[in-house]
Symmetry: C2
Subunit: 368 residues, 2 copies
């Protein structure tokens, strides 16, 4: 069966025959099955179509600020957004020291809910899904910002996000040659293996400057939380598109100010990117263009073959909203996921106490 990836508009709460709210639970394995069935390229392309559709409805979204709980070890954030039919939030952490205890630095899950009733419709893993939507957003932006004849992309930083970026650009922009560099040689070797196995061309380099030279697109997706200057002005060539993914929170940048000054810079949601993006190092009036305006034809993307363009990616809640919509549709089409009861409901809504009596008596399940 070929998944059509067409948008299903229904946003009604999912109910059992007896009227109980049923939440569709998508486990990491469910999302992985969707990806293995269709491939990272097709999934990111499908997701990009959902993101584009939602960005074209930009004004309809409640673009709340995220909440962030900071500790010495890291940060835990909630990223909510909503249109008039659906509400979503993402829970996501960032803990740089997690590798030392065998945990991912970033873990995420999220919920899609029905605005009309408040019922939670989908609970999904979002660790894998966030990697997919970040790559989908990058490739979608590049469709408007990179030169149409782009053939080669440098990937600086070969960690967890790198394969997703490569496969999204291969699918959506036809880029088949990737120049890799990372200070961690084993990360580069792993990425090279994965890309070559998929029939893509790979060249590895021993410095960022060497990897970037001659490339049409430069993707930076490094992990160090510091004011870094991975890409400096001298590396920039006319017509390059810079896909800056790793500079995404206060205190974490990848692009030298001189790179930004010679480029046209595009962002997701300007107020957020001013705080979190590479442009955090620029004056408050440094000019940027929100991408929804480019998608809608209200603002120009690339205007000449010589122009240098930058997508200062930080990740925005509307992308997670679109990604949750996509995963729900793809999962239902493959009959994946399980039903989770999250909401205590009595036959009489005024009789919540009665639910205690309605509950099953047998002890069930174990926690191991």
């Amino acid at each position: 069966m070929q998944v059509s990836f067409k948008t299903q508009k229904s946003s009604q709460a999912i109910r059992s025959a007896s009227g109980q709210v049923q939440t569709l639970y998508l486990a990491p394995n469910d999302v992985a099955q969707i990806v293995r069935r269709h491939g990272v390229g097709k999934v990111t392309a499908g997701m990009a179509a959902y993101i584009r559709e939602d960005f074209l409805r930009w004004a309809q979204f409640d673009k709340s600020a995220r909440t962030a709980a900071h500790s010495d070890a890291g940060v835990i954030e909630l990223m909510p957004t909503a249109d008039d039919q659906l509400y979503s939030f993402k829970y996501v952490n960032g803990h740089p020291g997690n590798g030392a205890v065998g945990l991912p630095t970033v873990m995420a899950f999220g919920v899609l809910a029905d605005v009309a009733t408040g019922a939670p419709m989908v609970l999904s893993e979002l660790t894998l899904t966030t990697a997919l939507r970040t790559a989908a957003m990058s490739a979608l932006a590049a469709k408007h910002l990179a030169r149409a004849d782009s053939k080669t992309m440098a990937i600086i930083g070969n960690g967890a996000q790198s394969e997703f970026q490569a496969f999204a650009f291969a699918q959506m922009l036809g880029i088949k040659t990737f120049h890799l560099f990372d200070v961690d040689l084993s990360a580069t070797a792993r990425l090279q293996c994965h890309l070559e196995r998929a029939g893509l061309n790979v060249k590895t380099f021993t410095s960022t400057a060497d990897a970037v030279r001659g490339c049409d697109v430069v993707t930076t997706v490094t992990a160090d939380k510091k004011y870094a200057t991975i890409i400096t002005a001298d590396m920039i060539e006319p017509g390059m598109h810079i896909n800056g993914v790793g500079g995404d929170c206060p205190g974490k940048t990848e692009l030298a100010a001189g790179v930004l000054r010679q480029a046209s810079v595009f962002v997701e949601f300007e107020p957020q990117t001013r705080i979190e993006g590479d442009i955090q190092q620029m004056p408050a009036d440094f000019p940027v263009t929100e991408l929804w305006r480019v998608f809608a034809g209200e603002a120009a993307g690339r205007t000449s073959d010589a122009e240098v363009t930058v997508f200062d990616s930080v990740g925005f809640a509307v992308e997670d909203f679109a990604a949750l919509r996509f995963m729900k549709d793809a999962a239902l089409e493959m009959n994946l996921g399980q039903t989770l009861e999250l909401i205590a409901q009595s036959a009489d809504p005024k009789d919540l106490f009665g639910f205690v009596g309605q509950a099953q008596t047998a002890e069930q399940g174990t926690f191991a």
Copy 2:
């Protein structure tokens, strides 16, 4: 087995033998089983001990504002808080029209997470749990604010929260006689049945004024979202304690300004209650006392038998935090709950793409 309800301090992320993050999922039936095993009274008393313990650590909490997404139909909120070990958030909606489609007006679930790693430790229903924690907080406040010789409580508004209030006050304050009034006679009949079945004394009335007369404690827990004056100054008798539960969001009050003016008023978190509580109708400098100060002995509760006291309850994130802690401990002690995989994890954290290959191949589960 007797549950000790002692606090378990451990806040480490729960891991499988292979190091995978495991989230304990507590379904509505699990929470209902805890309640049926121990009874509403003992559960609210146990939960009140957790709330008190957390209120005594007041300064340690990150007391963020909640996020609220408003629509014509209602509101969806996220309520996060954290100390230096644990993070929690509650998802909760408020949709007054849900009864017409057979859904509860308020539905809630939430997560307890490990601050050190960001790993989600517990995902739990919170609809039933919120009713329990609201009653626990009311009774805990009344232990400090009601007269020690209190024998009778009026319950004005006999909806979903009312049984929980009655059983909490019976357990924690020894109140055995309840005066009931609601404009919905069937709601009063249901509450009367539930309380009498538990051996409590019930008298029903045809007006608020009649129900309140001669009572030591007056609990208001009505549902209409409007500026109501359920309790007026002429109904107040010396020494009364008013437990004002239903006036809990902007535009929704139950107590006349004249009631508040003649009383000592106690609140959970002053900045929030100024916006959401009955005191929203009072000047910004209207004096109130935060309850954590009373629990800690820094401020007086009731100071004389003639004093009129008001707890202007709105519900605060730290109470949900304590309630989640309590339910986790109680569930583990009864071996309840199931393991949920929310986090995609590869053996190599830098190789998220590898997870796609690691996933099981068999399609599993169905969505009905």
